[in-house]
């Protein structure tokens, strides 16, 4: 495999990792706030904070990892996206900042503060919306090169049906992923009242996820036919994704094996995300940046891959330890530790 492909695959894997852990996090924030509003917070919020408290910082690193890696492997992306995304990027940053800090303020500082919880919960839905626009922009048509200048066509993005279908998909996916994870977590904690609530959330958000996915397909056909046709070459990946979705929601509906159900949710998004990614290649930004045109110096590319492997040797055991202590330790999950 070419090194460029290795690079983008590893980065895509990290983005996928972020997609899963951040969705759990973003959705949980929203559910925590919703729980407070509907006065169910005594049932679910302790469960949510029990999971989130030790891991929220790790979630953030996945994201930093992705963009540092992207700029490192493909420095041209910094130039194009950096110039074009000043405003949307800054807005996303402000949202991430508010969310991260107010999470800490409300969780470690003043627990009863409703405003903190609101800022934390609301930003959780706006962030996926704003981050997903980067994926939209990568399809082309929203950035134009005029001479030496890179121009971002914000109004075109705001009026594009494709853009809105992606935003819609991002939000409902976040809520679905998060709810199905919390269902699993509540089940492990043997917390019946919480389980009932989050299971309902999961079932409620399952159908919009599929509807939104179809919408994105249709809108992409209008926006970028070439990409749409390439996606058809990988139809089997999307087929697998759909099957995984059906298995997952079936298990949750019949109250069986919530852990397996969540693994199928992960697989559902894995196939969809990688099907989308592989058909997008070689473009990082259609039509200006490809993984070949933007590739860094050969020496640096190899060094980065080596650093990746060395880093993963350090990270994976640490992550396993973290999960063992807080995710798979039944006593901790049940609140006995």
């Amino acid at each position: 495999m070419e090194i460029q492909l290795v690079g983008i695959t590893v980065l895509w894997l990290f983005l996928y990792g972020y997609l899963i852990v951040a969705s759990i996090d973003f959705g949980a924030g929203f559910f925590a706030y919703y729980g407070k509003l509907t006065k169910q917070d005594h049932l679910i919020n302790h469960l949510i904070s029990r999971y989130l408290s030790p891991v929220w910082e790790v979630t953030n690193v996945f994201f930093v990892f992705f963009f540092v890696g992207l700029v490192g492997f493909f420095p041209d992306t910094a130039y194009y996206y950096g110039t074009a995304l000043l405003i949307p990027g800054s807005v996303a940053l402000v949202l991430l900042t508010i969310r991260g800090s107010f999470y800490a303020f409300s969780n470690y500082g003043s627990r009863e503060n409703k405003l903190y919880l609101f800022l934390y919960g609301a930003s959780g839905l706006l962030i996926p919306a704003s981050l997903s626009t980067v994926l939209t922009i990568s399809e082309g048509g929203f950035i134009e090169k005029r001479g030496d200048e890179i121009v971002f066509l914000a109004d075109r993005l705001l009026t594009s049906p494709y853009s809105w279908s992606v935003v819609f998909l991002a939000i409902v996916s976040v809520l679905f992923i998060s709810a199905s994870f919390l269902t699993y977590y509540a089940d492990r904690a043997d917390d019946k009242p919480a389980l009932e609530i989050v299971r309902k959330f999961a079932l409620f958000w399952s159908s919009p996820t599929i509807i939104a996915s179809l919408l994105v397909f249709i809108a992409l056909h209008e926006h970028n036919v070439a990409h749409f046709e390439k996606m058809l070459n990988y139809w089997w990946m999307f087929g697998f994704s759909l099957i995984c979705f059906l298995v997952a929601s079936g298990l949750i509906y019949f109250r069986k094996r919530y852990g397996t159900a969540f693994i199928f949710v992960m697989l559902q998004f894995f196939f969809a995300f990688f099907g989308y990614g592989v058909s997008h290649l070689p473009y990082i930004l259609d039509p200006y940046v490809t993984i070949y045109s933007a590739y860094t110096n050969e020496t640096m590319g190899i060094t980065l891959v080596v650093a990746f492997i060395a880093g993963l040797c350090l990270l994976i055991p640490s992550l396993i330890l973290l999960m063992k202590l807080f995710l798979f330790d039944a006593d901790y999950v049940k609140g006995k530790k």
Binding site: S53, Y81, G82, S90, Y108, M300, A307, L322, L325
Partner: protein
């Protein structure tokens, strides 16, 4: 001052970094202090120190959160505000940037574990062991990010021809001449500032009339550490000056108002510079600049006039240098006095004026960090990549940088205010004595 894109991008970067380094400094230094306190607590079976570690950790988490999010901001702003710079330099600095996120990842994982496993292990030493990876992670990320900054000061390990970079040597770029002195100075000063901030809290509690053992032990621990770190910081500062004299003489010359190259150069303290570049009211230490630069009273020190006018840093950085050095001396003297008083018993180490001086040491050490950083950064103007790329060539061409500047200023004000309120509230309603009683039945 013209508010063009270059200036606005500089202002926004400055604002983000100035805000971030407060929390970054705490993030690097406080884990060291927490670890020391917990270790003493375990070894001496002294609940005071264990409680100290716990309470410091609780406040620390809140500051870490702000440090994490503002760090994410500056990470992305590098590409958003300086896309042309990142396109070129990104090919070389991506390795340390990348390794920094690894270190950060490592720290994040173990901090999470450390926070939630206080009573989970049979042997308390196992919990203490978890603080080691946190320290390694935070200090390593400071190390890697400092190498990036060092690289911008003394770039090497590549060739640049017509905007194309070739012959990259990532390791040589990381371990450039500025790396050792910068890393040493950054780490020691972060440890120092953190010790003094924690010392400030202890001294302030004593001033409020809380005279328990807990506060006295806290004060003593922070002052001992503060003194050691202050001494190391001074050594690191001396190494930095020698580095500047050799590799970045224009920065040292601008900082010292040293215009003519001469042997046996004087060191200037304070003073002002009038329109004709005449120094007034300064204290002159004869031949000291030569000694500081080359350990030789008669060595020749390069003057600012040797450099083309458009490659000279602004001379106002002298004031930054003065403030940094003055505070540096203060941070050695105050802990030293405390330790002497504590040892001799003839004087009261908890006398009001000394406690107030210790309280003052907290904010002062943060100011020293800020001005020291401004000195280092403005001192390499007009370069963004010294000798290769000027700041003006690196800035974004996008519109609305001004608007984003205002947006982030508002954000940092809100964060700063709320963070302070939360921190004060956390401890105000829960004095150490009460916590000591219910946690350790003391």
């Amino acid at each position: 001052m013209e508010l063009d894109n270059v200036m606005l991008a500089r202002l926004l970067t400055t604002t983000t970094l100035a805000f971030h380094i407060i929390f970054a400094t705490i993030g690097v230094g406080v884990p060291v202090m927490i670890s020391i306190a917990e270790y003493i607590g375990i070894k001496r079976k002294d609940p005071h120190y264990l409680l100290l570690a716990r309470r410091w950790t609780r406040g620390f988490v809140v500051t870490v959160a702000v440090g994490v999010v503002t760090g994410t901001c500056i990470g992305l702003q590098l590409s958003l505000l300086w896309p042309s710079f990142m396109k070129i330099a990104g090919q070389i600095i991506s390795l340390p940037l990348f390794l920094e996120t690894f270190a950060f990842f490592f720290e994040a994982i173990f901090l999470g574990i450390y926070l939630y496993t206080w009573d989970r292990f049979k042997k308390p030493l196992y919990h203490w062991l978890l603080s080691i990876p946190v320290i390694i992670g935070s200090s390593a990320s400071a190390f890697f990010i400092t190498t990036v900054n060092a690289f911008m000061n003394t770039p090497q390990g590549f060739q640049l021809e017509n905007g194309v970079i070739t012959a990259i040597d990532p390791i040589q770029a990381m371990f450039n001449p500025a790396t050792p002195s910068k890393v040493l100075h950054v780490l020691t000063s972060a440890y120092l500032a953190s010790a003094l901030i924690l010392g400030m809290i202890a001294a302030f509690q004593l001033l409020l009339g809380r005279t328990g053992e807990y506060y006295k032990k806290s004060l003593k621990l922070t002052m001992v550490c503060g003194f050691v770190f202050a001494f190391l910081t001074a050594v690191a500062g001396d190494i930095s000056a020698k580095f500047l004299a050799k590799h970045q003489p224009e920065k040292l010359a601008a900082g010292e108002w040293h215009f003519e190259t001469e042997k046996g150069a004087d060191l200037l303290l304070y003073g002002i510079l009038d329109e004709n570049n005449e120094v007034k009211y300064a204290i002159r230490l004869p031949n000291m600049l030569s000694f500081l630069s080359f350990s030789d009273f008669n060595a020749e020190v390069k003057g600012l006039n040797e450099f083309p006018e458009d490659e000279r840093p602004p001379v106002w950085i002298h004031y930054m240098f003065d403030i940094m050095v003055t505070i540096g001396i203060y941070t050695v003297v105050v802990p030293f006095l405390y330790l002497i008083f504590d040892k001799l018993k003839a004087f009261n180490p908890h006398s009001k004026w000394l406690l107030w001086s210790i309280v003052l040491g907290g904010p002062l050490s943060l100011i020293a960090i800020e001005v020291g950083w401004i000195f280092a950064e403005v001192g390499r103007q007009p370069w963004i990549l010294r000798g290769y790329m000027k700041v003006a060539e690196g800035a974004t061409t996008a519109d609305n940088v001004g608007l984003m500047f205002l947006l982030f200023i508002a954000l940092y004000i809100v964060l700063g205010v709320v963070c302070s309120i939360v921190l004060v509230k956390m401890f105000k309603n829960k004095p150490a004595e009460v916590e000591l009683e219910y946690r350790f039945n003391k």
